[in-house]
C-alpha cells in the first residue's frame, strides 16, 4: 500500500509541483534546453505524467499515454515522492531496479544538476499547497 491514498491526490501533488518547477526560471531554462519529452509512469497509485520540454515553456500533461516521449521512466509513487526530497540517488535507484528508464540515460543524468534546486522547493510546496501530511522526509 503506497503512501498516497489515490491517483487523483498523487497527480495533484506531483503534477502541481512539476508545474511550479516549470515556472522557476533557473530550473526551467535548463530543462527547456534539453528539449526532452519525458513520460513518468507511476504505480501504487497509478498516475501518468508527461513533462514536455520541447517548446518555449514546460508543459505538464497528466494521463497522456499516446504522445511519443524520448524518455520513459517507471517507478512507484512513493519512490518518486522521496526523490523530490533529494533522498533518492537516481543511479542507485536504477541499479536496484526501483526505477526503470527507457531512452538516452546520459540526457536524464545531465538534468540532475538542473533540478537540484527543486529538492528544497518540494517540502515548502507541500506545506504551502495543503499537502503538509506528505511532508515526511
Amino acid at each position: 500500500m503506497g503512501l498516497f491514498k489515490d491517483s487523483e491526490t498523487f497527480e495533484k501533488v506531483l503534477g502541481g509541483f512539476f508545474g511550479l518547477v516549470g515556472e522557476t526560471p533557473d530550473v526551467a531554462e535548463r530543462l527547456l534546453a534539453s528539449k526532452l519529452i519525458i513520460r513518468f509512469t507511476y504505480t501504487d497509485p497509478d498516475v501518468v505524467l508527461v513533462v514536455d520540454c520541447s517548446g518555449d515553456q514546460i508543459r505538464v500533461i497528466p494521463g497522456d499515454t499516446e504522445r511519443e516521449a524520448e524518455v520513459n521512466m517507471w517507478m512507484s509513487s512513493d519512490i518518486a515522492h522521496k526523490f523530490w526530497f533529494g533522498k533518492v540517488n537516481l543511479t542507485a535507484a536504477l541499479t536496484r531496479g526501483q526505477m526503470k528508464a527507457k531512452g538516452p540515460i546520459p540526457k536524464i543524468l545531465k538534468l540532475l544538476p538542473a533540478i537540484k534546486p527543486a529538492y528544497a522547493m518540494y517540502p515548502r510546496y507541500l506545506e504551502e499547497y495543503g499537502f503538509g501530511e506528505y511532508n515526511i522526509y
Binding site: 540517488n89 543511479t91 526505477m99 526503470k100 528508464a101 538516452p104 540515460i105 546520459p106 543524468l109 545531465k110
Partner: protein, 414 residues
C-alpha cells in the same frame, strides 16, 4: 598480488600525512558479478564443459574479420565440435563500431540457426554486438524502441559466452553495451544486469597476435577504467579493491606485453587486469577522461584506447583537488614509494607514474604523444571541452566539469 586494499592504504597514507581521516564510505553501493570467469592459456579451444554447464548444446558464434583472419575462430569451433557442441552458425563481419543494423542481423541469424546460446570472440565491438543481439535473440522486439536505457530487461537472457581478444574493454564482465543507432546518429547505451555474460573465458593465447600499438592502447584503456572507477562518485570499497588490483597488474605488465607479445605471463596478467578493471567500472562508472575521449573519438575518429592514454594524466590533474587522497592511495600499486610523503606529494607521484608509463610506451612506438599526433586540430579544443560536458560519463566525475577549466588540460594534452 598485494593484499593491501585501497581503503587500508588510504588510511595509512592519510595518517602518514597527519590528516587522521579515512575515506568516507558510500551511502549506497551494490556489487553484483554473476559472470563466471575462467582463466587459462589455451582454454578457448576447450570450453565445451562450460558451454554444457549453461544447458545449451548449440551455439552461434559472433566475431569479426580480423579475428577470423588471425586464425582465432578455428580453434574455438574445432574444440567445441570435437566435444559434441553444435555450431549453429557464425557471423564474422562485426564492424569496428557496433550498430543497430548489425546487432539485429546477428540476432536474426542466430534465431534462424536454431542456436540456444551465443559465443562472442573479439574486442569491445564484437562483445557489445553480441550483448545487444542476445536481447533480441531472447526477447524479440525492437532493440532501440524496447530496450535502450537502464533496467529494461525483466528476466535472464540466453547464455552468452565471451572470449576477449584484447585486454582493455573489460566488456566481458560489464552490464553495459554501447551501440550506434544509424537512425538517430547517436550512440545508445544499454545498461542492465541481465546483459552480463554468463561466462568470460580469459585465454592469453587469444591476445598473442595483438600488435604492440593495440596492446598499449587497450592496456591504457584498462588503466583508465581502473583509475576512473576508483575516483568516480559511485566508487565503493569493492570496486576500489578491484581497481587497485588492476592498476598493479597493468603497471607491472603492460610494457612487457608490448615489448614481447609472446610473453604469456604478461598477456595473462593484462587480460586479468582488464577484467578486474571492467568489473570495477561496471559498478562505479568512468568519468572526465572518458568524457573527453568519447568526444575526441566521435569528432576525429581517435581510437578509444589511444584517446584515453593521452588524456588520462590530464584528467587526473583536473580532478586533483578532490581525488588526491585516492591518487595517493594508488601510488603503492604503481610501485611508487610513499613513506613520509604528504597526500599531495604521493598523489603527484601517482600522476607522474602514469605519465612515465605513457612515455615508455610512446618511446617504444606503441602510443602517440599528444592530441596533435592523432589528427585533432588545435582550434577544435574549445569545442571538445564543451562537448565533453554532454557525455554521460561527465555525471560520474568527482567534481563538476567546467568547459573553460577542461580546456586548460586539453591544451596540455595537445
Amino acid at each position: 598480488m598485494s593484499s593491501r586494499n585501497l581503503l587500508t592504504v588510504t588510511r595509512i597514507t592519510l595518517n602518514t600525512a597527519n590528516k587522521g581521516v579515512a575515506m568516507p564510505l558510500p551511502e549506497f553501493f551494490q556489487f553484483h558479478v554473476p559472470t563466471r570467469v575462467v582463466y587459462g592459456p589455451g582454454l578457448a579451444s576447450d570450453i565445451a564443459t562450460e558451454c554444457e554447464s549453461l544447458g545449451a548444446t548449440k551455439y552461434f558464434i559472433v566475431s569479426d574479420k580480423t579475428i577470423e583472419n588471425a586464425g582465432l575462430i578455428e580453434p574455438v569451433t574445432e574444440g567445441l565440435i570435437s566435444a559434441g557442441i553444435e555450431i549453429g552458425g557464425t557471423f564474422l563481419d562485426v564492424p569496428q563500431d557496433s550498430a543497430v543494423a548489425v546487432v539485429t542481423e546477428v540476432a536474426e541469424r542466430a534465431q534462424a540457426s536454431g542456436a540456444e546460446g551465443l559465443i562472442a570472440v573479439g574486442g569491445g565491438s564484437v562483445i557489445d554486438t553480441a550483448k545487444g543481439a542476445n536481447i533480441i535473440f531472447t526477447e524479440g522486439g525492437d532493440l532501440v524502441e524496447d530496450y535502450s536505457g537502464a533496467g529494461t530487461l525483466t528476466r535472464p537472457l540466453r547464455p552468452l559466452i565471451v572470449i576477449p581478444t584484447t585486454a582493455g574493454t573489460g566488456s566481458e564482465c560489464t552490464l553495459a553495451a554501447v551501440i550506434y543507432d544509424e537512425k538517430s546518429k547517436t550512440k545508445l547505451s544499454f545498461s542492465d544486469r541481465h546483459l552480463l555474460p554468463a561466462i568470460a573465458v580469459l585465454d592469453p593465447e587469444m591476445t598473442r597476435t595483438l600488435p604492440p600499438g593495440l596492446t598499449a592502447s587497450t592496456g591504457m584503456d584498462a588503466l583508465t577504467h581502473a583509475i576512473e572507477a576508483a575516483v568516480g562518485i559511485d566508487a565503493s570499497p569493492l570496486s576500489d579493491l578491484l581497481a587497485c588490483g588492476a592498476i598493479e597488474l597493468i603497471c607491472k605488465n603492460v610494457v612487457t606485453a608490448v615489448e614481447d607479445g609472446t610473453n604469456m605471463e604478461a598477456r595473462g596478467a593484462m587480460l586479468i587486469a582488464s577484467t578486474m578493471a571492467g568489473i570495477a567500472f561496471s559498478h562505479s562508472m568512468v568519468s572526465c577522461v572518458h568524457a573527453m575521449a568519447h568526444t575526441v573519438g566521435a569528432r576525429f575518429r581517435v581510437p578509444h584506447g589511444v584517446a584515453n592514454a593521452i588524456l588520462l594524466p590530464h584528467g587526473m590533474e583536473y580532478n586533483f583537488d578532490v581525488a588526491k587522497g585516492k591518487f595517493a592511495a594508488m601510488a603503492p600499486f604503481m610501485g611508487v614509494e610513499t613513506t613520509g610523503l604528504s597526500v599531495d606529494e604521493a598523489a603527484r607521484l601517482t600522476i607522474r607514474a602514469v605519465q612515465d608509463l605513457t612515455g615508455r610506451l610512446h618511446a617504444l612506438g606503441a602510443l602517440p604523444g599528444g592530441l596533435r599526433d592523432v589528427g585533432v586540430p588545435a582550434e577544435s579544443l574549445p569545442e571538445i571541452a564543451a562537448l565533453s560536458l554532454e557525455d554521460g560519463s561527465s555525471f560520474y566525475n568527482p567534481r563538476e566539469m567546467v568547459a573553460e577549466e577542461l580546456l586548460i588540460h586539453l591544451k596540455r594534452a595537445y
